[in-house]
């Protein structure tokens, strides 16, 4: 793929020539994230978050592999082995705090990345496949993070595992045997801990594979951009390297400053204190909450407190999964011809005053205790969440009158006197 004006890789010396002939990996990298990948010239800092997500994936894999060298996945010693990492292993505390906070930051970055996609409607043709793979990556991340949280075998680990696997019990008929099969027992125990460790080690590499597909699919149409107008000519793009490697590098520096502030000064702020109590199958903590990044979906799960044809518990489970599955249908639910929220006045209002406050409230409610007024609020915002995607979005996208789009990315950046610019020599066309 790529645009015809993309720079071509030229091996400089004997060694790179040798490689280019036998295994053109340097060429592949050059075309994927080097000077050979032309990118719209107007990307904002919101376009940094894909690279940041990639960085945190690598960080999690590196620190995770290190932690696995010291951790023991046995219920007798798992909790102690985590403390052993914290106290005895050289730099173990740094590895563990980096890994634990790294998971949180991975989700921060991914949520911004997803909401960037939602605002700029990046899921629209021709980029549907990128979006679909992205949702799959998000689901894989959730599974990985959930199993990772079980490994320290603290109270929240244990009861989180109990509650989440308990969800499967809601499935009619096969539910209870399915739960027993998933856990390898009748409650979370050694069998469950071991398989969660095995899968927690495996899934990040599956994610890495899915990320490669995500980027592959991205390189067919090329990156989107804040105007939503497709690239029309060479003057609309810049080579990824050095322009965006520099911009992403700067963004990464800022992200690392914030991240390291947490690792060094607030390492337990995003965790739950109860997880420093060893798992006790006979006593439930007063308030069971998942990790903060699951709060919106946990709030949706708990919003269903009434039976209606199906039992309340099954509704909750179905709604929780549907809340993510609905994202798979976005490319077809949003029918508007224009992508970017900047040129969609109605869409933009519902995004900023509907979807964003709803998500913020669901984040808050997922961590709140399960009584009034929180239950009712969860119900209201859950209702809006589904209304937004299933009703409001299809309607506004078919009735709204978008603002006029700039002719090209170049025009959006440089003003209307630079209109149709098809190549360096072709500009300007009119004079």
């Amino acid at each position: 793929m790529s645009f015809p004006w993309a720079k071509e890789y030229t091996p400089q010396n004997g060694l790179t020539k040798f490689f280019d002939e036998k295994l053109p990996l340097p060429r592949f990298v050059y075309n994927a994230v080097g000077a050979g990948y032309p990118v719209p010239r107007n990307l904002s800092y919101f376009w940094n978050f894909g690279v940041l997500a990639g960085f945190f994936l690598v960080l999690q894999i590196v620190t995770g592999v290190v932690l696995a060298m010291h951790y023991a996945s046995n219920t007798q010693v798992a909790f102690a082995s985590v403390e052993h990492i914290m106290r005895d292993v050289n730099w173990g505390w740094l590895m563990r705090y980096t890994h634990a906070n790294g998971a949180s930051f991975f989700f921060v970055v991914i949520y911004i990345h997803i909401f960037r996609g939602l605002f700029y409607a990046s899921y629209k043709p021709p980029r549907e496949m990128i979006w679909l793979i992205g949702v799959v990556i998000f689901l894989l991340m959730m599974a990985t993070a959930f199993m990772g949280y079980v490994l320290p075998w603290g109270q929240m680990s244990f009861w989180g595992a109990q509650v989440i696997t308990g969800l499967f019990e809601a499935i009619p008929l096969v539910g209870p045997p399915l739960k027993t099969w998933l856990l390898g027992g009748f409650a979370p125990d050694n069998a469950a801990l071991n398989r969660f460790f095995s899968l927690h080690f495996l899934l990040p590499f599956v994610i890495a594979g899915a990320v490669i597909l995500h980027i592959w699919a991205l390189h067919i149409p090329g990156s989107s951009n804040p105007t939503g107008v497709e690239v029309k000519g060479e003057s609309d793009t810049l080579p990824f390297h050095p322009y965006y490697t520099a911009k992403d590098g700067f963004g990464l520096g800022i992200a690392l400053l914030v991240f390291m502030t947490f690792v060094f000064f607030l390492p337990n702020t995003l965790g739950h204190p109860d997880n420093y109590i060893e798992a006790n199958p006979l006593s439930t903590p007063a308030l069971i909450v998942p990790e903060w990044y699951f709060y919106p979906f946990y709030a949706i799960l708990r919003a269903f407190t009434f039976d209606f044809i199906l039992p309340a518990k099954l509704w909750g489970v179905l709604a929780m999964f549907s809340a993510i599955l609905v994202w798979f249908f976005l490319p077809w639910l949003d029918k508007g011809p224009v992508r970017s929220g900047h040129y969609r006045p109605l869409f933009r209002k519902f995004f900023w005053f509907g979807l964003i406050p709803t998500m913020a409230m669901l984040f808050y409610l997922g961590g709140a205790p399960a009584h009034e007024p929180y239950v009712m609020l969860s119900q209201i915002f859950t209702a809006y969440y589904f209304l937004h995607f299933l009703v409001i979005l299809p309607i506004i996208s078919s009735i709204e009158r978008p603002d006029p789009l700039p002719y090209s990315i170049t025009e959006a950046v440089l003003g209307s006197d630079k209109k149709a610019v098809l190549g360096e020599n072709a500009e300007p066309v009119a004079t």
Binding site: L167, W181, A191, P281, D307
Partner: protein, 194 residues
């Protein structure tokens, strides 16, 4: 087509590509047979891979528990462990039995009478799993001084499920009564669970 392979395309008159006397092409037959054999083999490989995740023999071996309830006085409960899960045994007071029997069973979410929940001749011994049927928390009420909920049985603090003195769900999100494990009385004061 490479000439060295000498395949059916190049030499259509060998038996491979043509119909036999019964109208079946040999190549089709071989394809179907090979794919079926691979499919059956694949399924056979899948079976152990799936089955290994089910509870192992030692986990299943833990699945009986013997309890001596001779020391259990009227109105008292004990918490025991069965399959690594808590189990509640309570000797009901006459008032609790009366309260349980006074309920209109048909109006319950999960209709059951106290007699159906307990064993014949031991209507005062209530044996249930201490696992909330909502999302699996351990309800309160089995220990002295714990909150027994609005119906005097068990109360799950996680999302507020109230169970009555027959461990039936009366209020809150839990879909069913607390589960009754398989158990029997081997003597008047001994029960074997599992």
């Amino acid at each position: 087509m490479a000439s060295t392979t000498g395949n059916a395309d190049a030499t259509p008159d060998v038996n491979d590509g043509v119909e036999g006397e019964d109208g079946v092409r040999r190549r089709d037959f071989i394809n179907i047979a090979a794919v079926s054999a691979a499919g059956v083999g694949g399924l056979a490989v899948l079976l152990p891979l799936v089955s290994q995740m089910a509870p192992s023999a030692d986990v299943l071996a833990e699945s009986t528990t013997e309890l001596d309830i001779s020391a259990l006085d009227v109105g008292q409960s004990i918490k025991a462990v069965f399959r690594k899960q808590p189990i509640f045994v309570r000797r009901l007071t006459p008032a609790e039995i009366e309260a349980a029997n006074a309920v209109d069973v048909s109006a319950l979410r999960d209709p059951a009478t106290l007699d159906e929940i307990t064993k014949p001749g031991h209507g005062d011994v209530l044996v249930v799993m201490g696992v909330c049927t909502h999302l699996g928390c351990v309800p309160l009420g089995a220990q002295e001084g714990e909150n027994k909920g609005e119906f005097g049985g068990y109360f799950c603090p996680c999302h507020g499920s109230h169970y009555d003195t027959a461990a039936r769900i009366r209020k809150g999100p839990a879909p069913t009564n607390l589960a009754v494990p398989d158990y029997e009385f081997t003597s008047d004061t001994t029960i074997v669970i599992g």
